[in-house]
Amino acid sequence: MTTGTTTGTETGTTPSDTILAVERLSVDFQIAGEWTPAVKDVSFSVAKGEVVALVGESGSGKSVSSMSVLGLLGPNARRRGSIRFGGTELLGLDEEALRAIRGRRIAMIFQEPMTALNPVYTIGEQIVEAIQCHEPVPAAEARARTLELLKKVGIPEPERRMHSYPHQLSGGQRQRAMIAMAVSGSPEVIIADEPTTALDVTVQAEILELLRRLREDLGSAVVIITHDMGVVADLADRVVVMREGQVVEEAPVTRLFSDPRHEYTRKLLSAVPRQQPGEEPEADAGDAGGSTTLRVADLEVEYPGRLGRKGFKAVHGVSVTIEKGKVLGLVGESGSGKSTIGRAIVGLVRASAGSIEICGQDVTSLKPKELRGLRRKYSMVFQDPGSSLNPRLSIGDSIAAPMIVNRYADRRAVQQRVLDLLDQVELPTGWADRFPHELSGGQRQRVGIARALALDPELLIADEPTSALDVSVQATVLRLFQDLQDRLGFSCLFISHDLGVVELLSHDVAVLQHGRLVESGPARDVLRDPRTDYTRRLIAAAPVPDPVEQAERRRLWREMAG
């Protein structure tokens, strides 16, 4: 096994085991006539039946490294070094020879199964095509094999599902179908690029379990590319940590987590939001006699159907309250209605029944004029740093907007407040005249927080404010958020799918499933000692960045699933 120069070498395999060996691979991209390096001198190897995780943040070159194995990079890429598969050198191999390897001996699973599957063919047709593309078998046999594959990847009612189009399947089932297609040629290596990033945790747990089973059944090696240390701890045998196109550390999974040697690995691991046992968000006794900032009672939200068709009820009779200065974490999977509740509170969607009281006033019954005064009391932080700021406004103007709309102060006072706010979110005050596209995702999220705090709100709705960020950036933004909440004492509804984040920030937690409140209470009670099955499943499904603890969780999860 060969490793990069910066790597702590640890020999776990002998050369005869090695199925895929990447040596001193460099990839450059030609951008506007200049060659920009994306991957520099990367070496790693994969043994038969081994699961190797490539981890790193966006831009670390982990996807580029793996895509270059199959020559999928496009004409503006230049590769140097060596990629050996079995006895064959893949670099410089012609398209014809590569095609014999692609799919059949090395298969690929992508992040977003909706775009990786062709929407105009049924799942069955696509898998049959994949089979016949590598082996000239009769149609009937190919169909029989497809059925077999769908059963193997755990798609319920495979006979019926064969004739389904991708949009008729759930995200998890689409990914299963994608995997079925990938393993149709019994590949020796499966490359999975963020295969579970687009999925809910409970579905993620099932897909990871499936990958593990396939590895055992087929003996395929798996290269999994991920940014999630929990996924690494769950599945990988060996880990390659990448940063800025280089390998910084390579180690067996238990060693990497128990004794990370490179500084960057340590930072990456400590950035994963996790509540250390014994640490609790302080239950500030200071304002014990505090009032209630938000009281939502029997909230129902129904999205109207089209042309007389029945509408879709997203929220069924949910009641939550937030005391002054407290953070309520709202958790649930996609489609559980958690975002809808946040949007109903700020008035982006209409509540069809129930009441929403902010600082004692029911916003559902207020007229637009009466609502004006109340607007200062609440604001929202959004999820997507790409679209939460108006690209036409400088960030100073974006932050000033709520103050100007609500006639907060005169122009000069507003300017001063903008600078103060930039300072509070730890951005240079000189950046007020910059535009959003000049900022990174984390910096934009800071601007979003500054805008939300502009009017000194009593209540902040934060809808997945960090889920689009890299883990280390997420850690700094969360820390900032926690600081501000401590200092300014606003109440907050924190909406997230990430239990680790919620546990870190929230005093109380409410768990939602299919628009209904499943469980709620103090964070430590709900997350440490859940009373309902659903919460228990949710917690068991969330992988933790610790291989030993994760193995235990996995066992628990299997018991529950079985």
Binding site: S58, L371, V405, P428
Partner: protein
């Protein structure tokens, strides 16, 4: 990639993602872009000539100044003995005036309809967009001929016809853009902070859909010049002796063999104006977008 990669190593406070260049004043940036500034300068010249036409033209466009179809004056004498240069200048004024007014009519009405249809949605958008479909289903030239034939051949009728015919171009573009932008989080942020819907439309959404509108404006002016030329060529637009570029092409056609310049001069002028409008429109779109700053200049 506009964003800087963020990693653990980049300790806070975050380092600036780019050097402080590329924030030059608007006109400096425009001058730095040669194609746009050449087209802009030409258009400026054209507009000045069109506005001041009666003062600039060496002769009255109706006056007989020489022997027909000879090379007197700067650009020759036409079949009635009138000065071609003077008629070109006045013709330019007519054509540009009709085209610009027609496009302004179309732009104002079309953009407003598109904004409302896209933002309000529901039955309002159904009514507006179906109405637009009806407009689109008419063959434009046939409709123009019919309307002008009924209302009579007057320039103001030509303006109205072209204006109404070009409404769908603006409405459709704006509508589709608004649909994608109204669900952007920054629009929702504006709603939450209590901005009035009219202000959201005018101050938040309109600037973000302006790029295709600007391109469409310059394209439409050039199409309108051509359409006016076509209608005038058919005798439905400017009435003699008032020249427009289109009537001049029509008249010049008859003397192609005797004096081809009668056809060539107005044709070349149409081509130049249309070309300049297109180049200028493209350049403006880039210059007005903060995301393009510091790139092309």
């Amino acid at each position: 990639m506009a964003t800087a990669p963020e990693s653990v190593a980049q300790a806070l406070p975050d380092t600036p993602s780019r050097a402080n260049g590329g924030r030059k004043p608007f006109f400096k940036r425009m001058l730095a872009n040669r194609r746009t500034s050449v087209a802009g300068a030409f258009l400026l010249l054209i507009v000045v000539v069109a506005v001041l036409a009666p003062l600039i033209a060496p002769h009255d466009y109706r006056d007989i100044v020489g022997k027909p179809l000879t090379s007197g004056g700067t650009l020759g004498i036409d079949d009635f003995g009138r000065d071609v240069l003077s008629r070109l200048i006045i013709g330019l004024r007519t054509s540009l005036g009709v085209a610009v007014s027609a496009v302004l009519v179309a732009g104002v009405i079309g953009v407003a309809l598109g904004l409302v249809a896209g933002y309000v949605g529901r039955w309002v958008s159904t009514i507006i967009m179906r109405g637009i479909d009806v407009l689109l289903s008419f063959p434009p030239i046939v409709l123009a001929i019919a309307v002008v034939a009924i209302l009579g051949p007057a320039l103001v009728n030509v303006v109205l016809v072209i204006g109404v015919l070009y409404i769908p171009r603006f409405t459709r573009i704006v509508y589709s853009q608004v649909l994608s932008i109204r669900s952007m989080e920054y629009v929702e942020a504006s709603k939450i902070m209590g901005t009035r819907p009219a202000d959201i439309l005018a101050k938040t959404i309109l600037p973000n859909v302006s790029a295709p509108i600007i391109v469409q404006l310059s394209l439409s002016v050039s199409f309108a010049i051509q359409m006016e030329a076509g209608l005038s060529f058919l005798g439905l637009g400017a009435q003699p002796p008032l020249p427009s570029l289109g009537t001049m092409v029509g008249a010049g056609r008859d003397f192609l063999e005797v004096q081809p310049t009668l056809l060539i001069y107005p044709s070349v002028l149409i081509i130049l104006v249309v070309l300049a409008l297109n180049v200028f429109g493209d350049g403006m779109r880039d210059l007005l977008d903060p995301r393009h700053r510091g790139k092309n200049s």
